[in-house]
């Protein structure tokens, strides 16, 4: 098979993994080594595909042969997809060639499971080792980790890679059992626990060997089973706290060629994935928790029409308007339309003088969204702004395809 045919198959096979991050980790450059490759801590998106996803890393599978039968996966063993397999040398060469032309930040390598977990993991480690040792490659490497691979292989993977990740795949254990019968959530969690211990050990002891300095991440598929948004976000809360993940990626279940009967016919609306990312952001940077975002007494689903912060504000009208001149930072962060940077600026300005309505205009905040929820020395929202109007407003403010805010890199 020609290299370009393999690339077509194995890029297509890898694209359902949403992770594209190339940020974090150890700073390094090629001046000392005379090789190529650098990592400056902030990821760079070198291109975007018309699906709106960033292309930062060469994201491919080593092979799409797989002995597992996960219903949502295009590469499951009962799928009729065309199969291919790269050699270790081919992946290394492709990575170097793409990197030299500044197409990519590095490599994100994953694989179907062939023969055994250790055999497959050993192949992934070989690619990373060859890039780092033989080619003095200083770019980013993200390796997908196989949960039950041996600890020695995991340790070596962590030595060469910037990031390691294991996908939890489904928000609940039941969902995983139903759709990925050979995977075991307990194996996955044990492996994530080992990764966190390895990462922290390497961080705390300067003499310890390098271990995945950019941390670990995971992905959950949304909409392939009956899990609610509350299930999804509860699961994320647990994963962030237990394993100190850098990111949880949400991937709206997407129809695949040659789909399994176990799957829903239609994909969930893409906006659901977007709302989950917004909610995840609110939990990590805005001080919200799951109970506030997806209350237990509800259907457990986020409102698709308005963003989760607006939805919370509409459920708590009594806490508004927020006095911009006196409210604490935590409350400013809860105002719909005010982001972390704007809040920092407002607090900076408060030190020098009172805030007025025009200050908000000058800061270019979305006024129609913010104004009903705030008070300044010359502005108070008039009476009760009806909720229904605000709901429509929020929908009309967004471009038709909402995108994820990119405040902190990825």
């Amino acid at each position: 098979m020609k290299l370009s045919d393999k690339l077509a198959i194995l890029a297509d096979a890898a694209k359902y993994d949403a992770s594209c991050s190339s940020s974090g980790g150890q700073k390094r450059d090629s001046l000392k080594t005379g090789g190529i490759g650098s990592n400056e801590g902030m990821g760079i998106c070198h291109a975007y595909a018309p699906d709106g996803r960033c292309i930062s890393l060469l994201k491919i599978l080593l092979t799409n042969f797989c002995i597992y039968d996960c219903a949502y996966c295009i590469n499951r063993r009962t799928s009729n997809v065309q199969r291919a397999r790269f050699t270790v040398a081919e992946v290394v060469q492709l990575t170097m060639d793409f990197y030299r032309r500044n197409y990519i930040e590095g490599l994100f390598l994953s694989s179907g499971i062939i023969q055994s977990s250790d055999y497959t993991m050993e192949m992934l480690v070989q690619v990373a080792r060859s890039l780092r040792v033989e080619h003095r490659f200083g770019g980013y490497i993200h390796l997908k980790t196989i949960p039950d691979a041996s600890p020695e292989l995991l340790a070596e993977a962590g030595r060469w890679a910037d990031r390691l990740s294991i996908n939890v795949e489904m928000p609940t254990e039941g969902g995983l059992k139903a759709l990925a019968p050979e995977k075991d959530l307990r194996d996955i969690r044990r492996a994530m626990g080992r990764l966190r211990l390895g990462i922290e050990e390497a961080k705390s002891d300067k003499k310890a060997p390098r271990f995945a300095p950019a941390g670990q991440s995971t992905q959950m598929i949304v909409g392939a089973d009956a899990s609610s948004d509350r299930d999804v976000l509860s699961s994320s809360t647990n994963l962030y706290a237990n394993y100190n993940l850098k990111r949880v990626y949400y991937s709206a279940f997407s129809p695949i060629p040659d789909a399994s009967k176990a799957l829903p016919l239609r994909p969930p609306p893409l906006v659901r994935e977007h709302r989950l990312y917004q909610a995840d952001w609110l939990m990590r940077f805005y001080g919200f928790n799951v109970e506030e975002i997806a209350p237990a007494n509800d259907s457990g689903m986020l409102d698709l029409d308005v963003d989760p912060k607006m939805a919370w504000a509409l459920r708590h009208r009594g806490q508004f308007p927020v006095d911009l001149n006196h409210a604490p930072k935590e409350m400013l962060l809860r105002v719909p339309g005010l982001g972390v940077r704007t809040v920092q600026r407002l607090i900076g300005m408060r030190a020098h003088r009172k805030l007025r309505y025009t200050d908000l205009v000058k800061l270019r905040v979305p006024m129609r969204k913010v104004a009903p929820f705030v008070a300044t020395i010359d502005h108070r929202p008039r009476g009760d702004s009806e909720s229904s109007a605000l709901r429509h407003l929020d929908a009309s403010l967004h471009d038709p395809v909402p995108r994820q805010a990119d405040l902190f890199g990825h």
């Binding site: 070198h46 002995i67 039968d69 799928s79 030299r100 211990l197 962030y240 000058k362």
Partner: protein
């Protein structure tokens, strides 16, 4: 009105020299006109700034302003010099903190300009595409790029750090930059035709771009926001975009409508892992079975059951309370901070850890998530009761000569609820089955003592208690 002619409109040092001189002369911002380049007739009088004049003390400006000015000067807008001078004037004439007023017109203008420059720099790092030119002495990689602002010298060091081991050139309309593996040199501007127009490897890159695209999630505007159309003319992959968009809906519909198929080729299923056998009397069988335990709700948020470990014929069994954060991750008891303290105490008492069997009363970590941390929570009576069969089974299988309970939870599990740890610690008690047991404090209690002296004394007491085990170890 004074006219200032700058030789290099993007240079901070030059602008700063002029601005200082203007300030020293007390020239109002409205009385200054800024120009770039050599304009005939104006040069002689104003070209050399007032070096010879004594500097008038105008006060220092914050470092923050200089770094802002440095970035703003790279912007293409001709008003930049005047706006910066006006800001400088205001900062030195009673509005010292104006930079903190983000909504101020001048500040907002500069912030916007700086943001545009930073974005342009970021996009240059992303969208430069090198093409390889093979030469006798090795390959050179050449790129053509059209930045919106004067950013080449600011971004060039990034490319040096990244491609130190490569020879490369980046050509832009205003300037060019070259790296030969040793030194960075800047040269004159160029034209698109000066750069190579193809590279054999681009076909593979286009293959990748086309196949990594998922037609089931078309988000054209999201793509355009991050990869503005004006960059497309120099991005080889951009030629594919219209076709990918056009065919996406049809491809998606085909996927949704096609019926599930039956597999044509058979890939064998994985060999089942060694079947879970029922407990055959060994402690390993118990341990495997305990991994599946769901007798109380603690299993769900935890990583794993933390079962006991050590010799299955140990003479002494140590029973702690419940695993913590580190134990939950590692799947082993007593490996966190309290476990490390325990190890030190054992060593002082002259006892080898690997001669013991070490376990906990409750075998799952109980916690409250707080952002990226987990706060330890005490297992309640039901949870302790749910875990009791495992503890009793461990005692039965290991059949130790002696048991030591660390902490009240363990002590009450063995001696009953009426046991009082502080009154009865360090006293041997005979159990019904003939085993001898005593209790002492849990090492985490020692960690929590705030006063160093108290901690020292309590630790010594703890070691004395543990030393009681020496008589049964042999």
């Amino acid at each position: 009105m004074r006219v200032v002619v700058l030789h290099d409109g993007n240079d901070l040092a030059e602008w700063r020299t002029h601005a200082r001189a203007l300030l020293a002369d007390g020239l109002l911002p409205s009385d200054v006109q800024w120009q770039v380049g050599e304009i005939a007739g104006l040069l002689p009088a104003d070209a050399s700034p007032a070096d010879d004049k004594p500097a008038v003390k105008t006060g220092t400006v914050p470092r923050e302003f200089l770094s802002l000015a440095d970035t703003v000067l790279a912007h293409a807008d001709a008003r930049r010099h005047a706006v910066l001078y006006r800001l400088l004037w205001r900062m030195t004439h009673g509005e010292r903190h104006v930079l903190g007023i983000a909504s101020d017109d001048d500040v907002a203008w500069c912030e916007q300009a700086a943001k545009a420059v930073r974005r342009d720099m970021h996009k240059m790092k992303a969208f430069v595409r090198f093409r390889e030119v093979k030469q006798l002495e090795g390959s050179v990689f050449i790129a053509w790029f059209e930045p919106s602002h004067a950013i080449l010298s600011r971004v060039a060091p990034f490319f040096v750090r990244r491609f130190a081991g490569m020879h490369w050139s980046i050509l832009t309309p205003a300037r060019s930059v070259h790296w030969d593996g040793q030194t960075l040199t800047f040269g004159a501007g160029a034209q698109k035709g000066d750069a190579p127009n193809e590279d054999a490897l681009e076909a593979l890159w286009l293959t990748y771009f086309a196949n990594v695209f998922n037609p089931a999630r078309l988000k054209v505007q999201a793509m355009k926001n991050e990869m503005p159309v004006r960059y497309w003319k120099n991005l080889p992959e951009a030629v594919l975009i219209p076709g990918l968009i056009r065919d996406a809906t049809a491809r998606m519909d085909a996927m949704v409508q096609s019926a599930p198929t039956t597999p044509k080729k058979h890939i064998p299923a994985p060999v089942e892992r060694i079947a879970m056998s029922l407990p055959d009397g060994s402690i390993d069988a118990l341990r495997r079975q305990a991994q599946q335990c769901r007798a109380c709700p603690l299993w769900e948020p935890a990583t794993q059951t933390v079962f006991g470990e050590g010799r299955d014929d140990a003479r002494v069994m140590v029973i702690g309370e419940q695993p913590g954060d580190q134990e939950d991750l590692a799947g082993r008891p007593f490996v966190g901070p309290a476990g490390q303290l325990f190890d030190r105490a054992l060593a002082q008492a002259g006892i080898a850890r690997d001669a013991l069997y070490i376990t906990n009363t409750v075998k799952h970590f109980k916690f409250e998530p707080r952002g990226k941390r987990r706060l330890h929570a005490r297992a309640n009576a039901q949870e302790q009761a749910a875990c009791r069969p495992w503890l009793l089974a461990e005692i039965e299988r290991v059949a130790p000569k002696a048991i030591v309970c660390l902490g009240a939870m363990a002590a009450q599990a063995i001696f009953g609820r009426s046991f009082r740890l502080l009154e009865q610690r360090g006293q041997w008690i005979d159990l019904d089955d003939g085993t001898r047991a005593f209790a002492t404090v849990h090492p985490s209690y020692l960690l929590r003592l705030p006063d160093e002296r108290a901690r020292h004394e309590a630790t010594a007491h703890f070691v004395r208690d543990l030393s009681m085990l020496c008589e049964v170890m042999t």
